[in-house]
Amino acid sequence: MRSYAFLPVVIFLVLAGFFGYRLLMIDKGDAPNFIPSAMIDKPAPDFDMPPLYDGKAGLKTADLQGKVTLINFFASWCVPCRAEHQLLSGLTGKGFVLAGVNYKDKPEDAKAWLDRLGNPYDLLVADRQGQTGIDFGVYGVPESYLIDKQGRIRFKQTGPFTPESIEKELMPRVAELNK
């Protein structure tokens, strides 16, 4: 009889342990609605995207070798991309190539958008059909992939960057990969 009486408190403490663990994980940035990417630490998929502006350089998988690259999928029709855009201009010359992929967009719309808001990208390519986006596993724009010098995906930002996520998530990883 006596030992049964302890059952509720024991069950509750186990439950509290789980809650504590979960809170710890949230604190480390792993929210319950965080979607893990199957592509992390895998080589970037094969792609060969044409430049957005004729005559400029395109981007293909082999080009990723030897430098750290941040591939940012964006579109002129995407509202959060606009919010993210002003943060991207602060990212040029920070130790990685900032490659913009104009995703499922009309080139003239994209160009007008960039004329208006400025062009922070080192390199601009187009993925008009969204095929490369599918290979990368893009859910929606904006989405960004950090790729190391060996051409492997090391980090994925789902949704727009925030000043906080740039400082806490992106920049430490860039510094690590540039070592």
């Binding site: 009486a5 509720p8 408190v9 809170l23 994980m25 929210a31 893990p36």
Partner: protein, 657 residues
């Protein structure tokens, strides 16, 4: 100045609560009357101070004082006055303030109306109430200050989440909290009883009205939330098994079990430890619900901003309150003497079965809600648990429960006569079979139709069973009509309360079954002038008017004409609103009801070629779910007005001098 006054009052309230938590407890241990009486005075003071704080915040909202961060973040000058006021609890800080205000109000009620309670029990219960209060006041003051100032003050605020600018949701939190926090009374009494080491019939009689009141509020709160989800989410559903909904449903299940087991303690002086445990559970689940919704440990469609720092604080509070009370239970409950014995086939037995099934149901809802969390922590991947799980486990538990609900009241205490009860229920039995078979045949006689037949048969069993039980009590058709009427008049209100709530559940079951099996829907693109036929109704889209100005939104309003056999039944105008501050779209479904069926029309986005996405539903018997819920609350209130609650329990012992 006014916000500072509120802040100051809240700090004072914390100190008063600390005094109230300690002094009466010491007084009760020493049998010192003046020390015990401090609890009552402190409860008055605490309520007054928290009311001043709440008033100060409300004032800041009404006058749009944007130098207060909380007001700037959640209000706007364009907002209608009603939503300025309800905006007070439409955010984390303000809603926690409402929480402690209600807690203090219950404390005040205990101090005011608990005059005929044994002084030591009252002192201890007030002290336990104050302990909870200390925890939550500290939580507000240290992590969620509603009075923080902003300098410079912005010219205007960010506005309230448009989803909350709706009468259904605006008043949903106060009722929910009146329910959640109301269970703190049963909790405090349970802890006080554990400290005293004595639980008796009088104790159960004290606890029951508080629990019943809390249960009524919670039922109403849940029904309002469900009604809100029904008409604003625009998907025709009324319950989604979302963690936030489950968080309110679990205390309801535990509270319902507690209401029933308290009867056994009151009438038969047994099931004591179990009742105490349920009292602890009901309030613990209320706290757990608050934690789940606030901390962000579980993903939900409508959670508040997740903040791990607050989460850690609430978790610590949970461990103290729940862990502490369960530990006290583990140490003290074995000393509670068991009372009268009974056989499984008796009224106690059926109430116990009700308790076991209710608790199991509550446990499975808890498991389903938290399973994603367990799976994630144990490395089994990210998953979500949806309605299929809940429906699959919940319904099989409810079927035997409802079946016993008709039978239980027919059994006598201690040793019941199952065969006798079944014989007296033979009319119900026959009618149930008739209803079941009729439904099955009407619905086409297929395997699928068995679902409808089962649901309606179950409802019929409960409905007729409850009426038969009432008829038995008044000896309807067995005694002269005059005698029956006389008996009906003198039947205690508690008995009527039971009959009404049980009938109400039958009504809810009819509604649930109807909506589950007979609802039809059509989703399509419609152009103005087009007509879609749904369940015998011809719905014509007359046109869509854009740019209608509301106080703080612009709306597109569609106009539909519903016809049946060529005759106009209703003009319906669903809206799609875009609120200006903060910019966010909402849907406003148009519902035409005849109290049996709802015709439910939602207008969606334009397709860019002159057409609009429309969702049309014909929801069968859904109104009965809400009618049943209101009837259930009414039954609870009738029971609450019973004479024995008004005059209080007989004093079993002489009052301590």
């Amino acid at each position: 100045m006014i916000p500072e006054t509120g802040h100051y009052a809240l700090i004072l309230a914390l100190f008063v609560a600390i005094v109230q938590a300690i002094v009466p407890l010491v007084g009760a241990a020493r049998d010192d009357r003046p020390w015990m009486e401090v609890g009552r005075t402190a409860a008055f003071a605490q309520f007054l101070l928290i009311a001043i704080a709440f008033g100060a915040l409300t004032w800041s909202y009404v006058t749009s004082d944007f130098s207060v961060v909380n007001v700037a973040q959640n209000s706007h000058t364009d907002k209608p006055l009603l939503y300025k006021i309800t905006g007070v609890w439409g955010n984390h800080e303000g809603s926690m303030l409402l929480w402690v205000l209600i807690l203090a109000a219950y404390g005040l009620a205990l101090a005011l109306f608990g005059r005929n309670l044994p002084p030591a029990l009252r002192a201890r219960a007030l002290a336990v109430q104050a302990m909870i209060s200390v925890g939550f006041l500290a939580f507000i003051l240290f992590t969620s200050d509603p009075f923080a100032r902003l300098d410079p003050a912005p010219l205007n605020g960010n506005g309230l989440n448009p989803l909350l600018q709706d009468p259904g949701l605006a008043f949903h939190p106060p009722f929910l909290y009146l329910g959640y926090v109301g269970f703190s009374m049963a909790f405090s009494f349970a802890i006080a009883a554990l400290i005293e080491g004595r639980v008796d019939a009088a104790w159960a009689r004290w606890v029951r009205p508080w629990t019943l009141a809390a249960w009524c509020f919670l039922t109403l709160g849940i029904a309002m939330g469900s009604w809100w989800a029904y008409y604003t989410l625009g998907w025709g559903g009324w319950w989604y098994w979302d963690p936030t909904e489950n968080a309110s449903f679990m205390p309801w299940l535990a509270g319902t079990a507690l209401l029933h087991s308290a009867i056994v303690v009151e009438k038969r002086d047994t099931l004591k430890a179990w009742t105490i445990l349920l009292a602890i559970f009901a309030f613990s689940l209320s706290l757990l619900g608050t934690f789940i919704v606030r901390s962000g440990v579980v993903t939900s469609v409508h959670s508040f901003a997740a903040d791990p720092a607050r989460g850690v604080f609430i978790l610590a509070l949970l461990v103290l309150v729940i862990g502490g009370s369960l530990m006290l239970f583990a140490l003290r409950s074995p000393s509670l003497k068991a009372g009268g014995l009974f056989t499984p086939l008796s009224r106690e037995g059926s109430l116990l079965l009700n308790n076991v099934l209710m608790s199991t149901a509550c446990g499975t809802v808890l498991l389903g809600t938290l399973y994603p969390l367990f799976a994630d922590a144990l490395g089994l991947g990210k998953i979500s648990v949806g309605p299929p799980f809940f429906n699959a486990v919940f319904i099989p538990l409810m079927v035997p429960m409802v079946a016993t609900m008709a039978l239980g009241p027919m059994m006598s205490w201690k040793r019941g006569d199952l065969m006798g009860a079944l014989v007296r229920l033979r009319i119900a039995f026959v009618l149930t079979l008739v209803v079941g078979i009729a439904c099955w045949l009407l619905d086409g006689g297929s395997v699928q139709a068995l679902k409808a037949a089962g649901g309606f048969a179950l409802a019929a069993w409960l409905l007729i069973g409850s009426i038969v039980e009432w008829a038995e009590r008044v000896k309807l058709f067995k005694a002269p009509l005059v005698e029956s009427l006389n008996r009906a008049r003198h039947l205690p209100r508690a008995a009527y309360g039971m009959t009404i709530t049980h009938l109400a559940l039958a009504v809810v079951i009819i509604g649930i079954t109807g909506s589950a099996v007979w609802t039809s829907e059509k989703i399509q693109v419609m152009r103005p002038g087009e007509t879609v036929t749904l369940s015998g109704f011809d719905l014509t889209l007359n046109g869509v008017e854009d740019g209608i100005k509301g106080p703080n939104y612009t709306a597109s309003r569609a106009s539909f004409t519903a016809r049946k056999n060529g005759e106009v039944v209703a003009q319906m105008s669903p809206e799609k609103r875009l609120y200006t501050m903060p910019p966010r779209p909402t849907t406003d479904a148009a519902i035409h009801t005849n109290f049996i069926n709802d015709l439910y029309v939602v207008v969606g986005d334009p397709d860019g070629k002159g057409g609009y996405v429309t969702r049309l539903y014909h929801n069968t018997l859904v109104p009965w779910i809400f009618i049943g819920a209101v009837l259930m609350v009414f039954g609870g209130l009738v029971s609450l007005s019973d004479r024995r609650h008004r005059i209080g329990a007989p004093t079993r012992k002489t009052k301590a001098a």
